[in-house]
């Protein structure tokens, strides 16, 4: 009797498992389909697309659309390809991500381990910045960038993203450090470590997962941002997203869909890569931060 029931239990679990995997596979296909179509069409000559066969694999494989999108396509008025704008985006995103993460970590450290009168209120105000729609800050931000004389430049965009990101990164690090034992900080104080030594030697080495979360979140947001890029950067200093828009929306000549697809994949690639490399830390870090708030 016991043997029989054990047998059925295994069989049921196998069938359930098969269903689960089938389901997951279907969903994976569903989500991968748009990306697949982009990839397939970016490797076709334009004639095959305009011929009306979007789904089929290329008959004539070519990487010419990729080369064109990267270095020769018409962006706005210049035939520069996306390359300079890709570099713009990197130059903008990397410092903004690093700066906002470092400041967020410091804020979280102070707000949990060096609490002062009114620290909760300050945290509340910082949180507020997470909920303010981008559009509201456009005009004040433009004024500040103008005053600092960095309007329309990449440093200007770095500042915008850095400031806008602090709210989120502070939230992440504060929640993470709230669960971090205060006794460790006290022990380090007695051992003679100062404010920054404790931060550098004790807190940061234990912050791996939340640094990953902050990096992924900030990088994705900053890389994908269009509004700030379109508002505060012009011409040669525009980020990738704006350049992609200019590529796709150029109204002269033939619409080169294959080049557009290639450009879109280029624009999406870095965030995709970040997720693939650090995605598991992202989930782990989000969980760790949510244990105690």
């Amino acid at each position: 009797m016991a043997v029989a029931s054990a047998d059925t239990a295994i069989r049921t679990s196998r069938i359930t498992r098969a269903f689960i995997y089938l389901f997951l596979l279907l969903f994976a296909l569903f989500y991968l389909l748009p990306f697949g179509i982009m990839l397939v069409n970016s490797l076709k000559p334009l004639s095959e697309i305009t011929g009306g066969n979007m789904i089929a694999l290329p008959q004539d494989w070519t990487i010419a659309p990729w080369l064109s999108a990267w270095s020769t396509a018409q962006i706005g008025v210049e035939p520069t390809g996306l390359r300079p704008y890709f570099i713009n985006s990197l130059v903008m995103a990397v410092p903004a991500v690093v700066l906002s993460t470092v400041v967020g970590a410091l804020n979280g450290y102070v707000l949990t381990k060096w609490q002062f009168r009114g620290s909760t209120i300050i945290f509340g105000l910082l949180l507020f910045s997470c909920f303010i729609p981008f559009q509201i800050v456009l005009i004040p931000m433009a004024r500040i960038l103008g005053l600092l004389d960095i309007a329309g430049t990449t440093p200007g965009l770095i500042l915008v993203h850095f400031v806008y990101g602090i709210g989120f990164t502070t939230l992440y690090f504060r929640n993470y450090y709230a669960a971090f034992p205060t006794e460790l900080v006290r022990a380090a104080q007695i051992d003679g470590a100062g404010f920054f030594q404790i931060f550098w030697r004790i807190m940061l080495p234990s912050s791996g997962p939340i640094i990953a979360v902050s990096f992924i979140w900030q990088f994705t947001n900053i890389w994908n941002d269009f509004l700030f890029g379109a508002s505060f950067a012009s011409g040669g200093s525009a980020p990738m997203t704006v350049a992609l828009n200019n590529l796709v929306n150029s109204s002269t000549g033939v619409r080169e869909y294959n080049v557009h697809f290639a450009g879109a994949i280029m624009a999406a690639a870095p965030t995709l890569l970040v997720y693939i490399v650090a995605g598991r830390y992202f989930v782990r870090g989000l969980m760790a931060g949510s244990v105690k708030g």
């Binding site: 460790l184 006290r186 380090a188 007695i190 051992d191 003679g192």
Partner: protein, 371 residues
């Protein structure tokens, strides 16, 4: 002048005073235990000695140097935390030497100090491991190593054994005592466990509600508790406290209590302190430790005043080494501690012997001991 002076120290948060005029003088080499229930202010006091919390008024001095406002790292103290607070990202060796590194000790000296301490605590094989790979007892040793390596004036222990299981706790207790006897260091130790307090300390400060209720040697605290709180907090099972009336019969004072049968029993008191006279014919609380109530054969042979009393036994609890016998006296449960093989049967009458030398009286209103 003590080695560590806690001089009229108070602590308040806003208008709320949580520690009231604490005044303790700790001598060099003394093992002072601060004991009390949670929320009594013992950890706050320890943190104030460490410099982790500010002092609202009064003074803390170590070796006659005023410590108010001095940074924790400059007080030459070391602290062992309840959670051990080992740095998770560093190896055991780095954990132990971190303090020396922060104080700018040269590397060769740090290595030597680390080796000495590791040898003392027998943790040499662990030096390259991370705290996460250690057992509770090993972490405890490393935490003590981190404190010892600095060679501080005063060691502060904040409930260091409460995260260990029962057996390990007893082992580590003995280790700490051995260490203190060998090194002769000055230790302030916080615990809520009265057995730790009794066994480890040279002196105990029993705290409750932000007041030091009594400061004294373990024997003083146990035998002559200053008030009802100290009497019932220290000792396990707790001291029996029985409502009684003090009367004079045949030229001697007697404490009148009622037995389970509702009839009166008189316990003669010898060598009564003069203060007892003022409570003649008044209500008092009679405090008797469980081990002062035994069977007649098990009574202390050196006791001068054994009073006999027959009463009905309600419950017996054999605990291996002893048997705890519960009876009703003056309407309260009263526990007696018998030899393991005492012949006691629940529901029957039994002849108890009460060692009245050890009995104490409390004023029912002020709850202070009458003496």
């Amino acid at each position: 002048m003590g080695f560590l002076d806690i001089d009229n120290v108070t602590k308040s948060y806003g208008a709320v005073e949580v520690l009231h005029k604490v005044d303790i003088e700790v001598h060099e080499g003394e093992f002072l235990v601060l004991v009390g229930p949670s929320g009594c202010g013992k950890s706050t006091l320890l943190n104030m000695i460490a410099g982790l919390e500010g002092i609202s008024s009064g003074e803390i001095r170590i070796k006659d140097r005023v410590m108010n406002g001095v940074h924790p790292s400059r007080r030459n103290i070391a602290m062992v935390f309840q959670s051990y607070a080992l740095y998770p990202n560093m190896t055991v060796g780095q954990n132990i030497t971190f303090g020396l590194e922060m104080h700018g000790t040269p590397k060769s000296e740090r290595e030597k100090a680390m080796k000495d301490v590791a040898q003392l605590l027998q943790i040499e094989p662990l030096l390259d491991r991370k705290p996460g790979q250690l057992s509770g007892g090993q972490r405890q040793r490393v935490a003590m190593g981190r404190a010892l390596v600095r060679n501080p004036d005063v060691f502060l222990f904040d409930e260091p054994l409460s995260n260990l299981d029962a057996k390990l706790r007893v082992d580590m207790r003995i280790e700490i005592k051995k260490l203190h006897q060998r090194l002769g260091t000055t230790i302030v130790y916080v615990t809520h466990d009265q057995i730790e307090a009794m066994t480890l300390s040279t002196r105990i400060a029993v705290m409750f509600d932000g007041y030091v209720q009594q400061l004294g040697t373990p024997k003083e605290i146990y035998d002559a508790p200053a008030n009802l709180f100290v009497a019932t907090f220290m000792g396990s099972p707790a001291m029996n406290v029985l409502p009684a009336t003090l009367v004079e019969r045949d030229g001697a004072l007697h404490a009148l209590i009622s037995a389970a049968d509702g009839k009166e029993r008189a316990l003669r008191i010898e060598n009564a302190p003069p203060a007892y006279a003022t409570y003649k014919d008044a209500k008092v609380l009679l405090g008797i430790r469980p081990e002062a109530i035994t069977d007649p054969e098990g009574a202390d042979r050196n006791a001068r005043n054994i009073q006999h009393l027959t009463n009905k036994v309600t419950v017996i609890e054999p605990a291996g080494a002893d048997t705890f016998v519960t009876m009703t006296l003056s309407g309260k449960d009263c526990i007696a501690r018998m030899r393991a093989d005492a012949d006691v049967i629940p529901g029957r009458d039994f002849a108890f012997a009460i060692n009245m030398d050890k009995a104490v009286l409390f004023d029912p209103k002020t709850e202070q001991r009458i003496a």
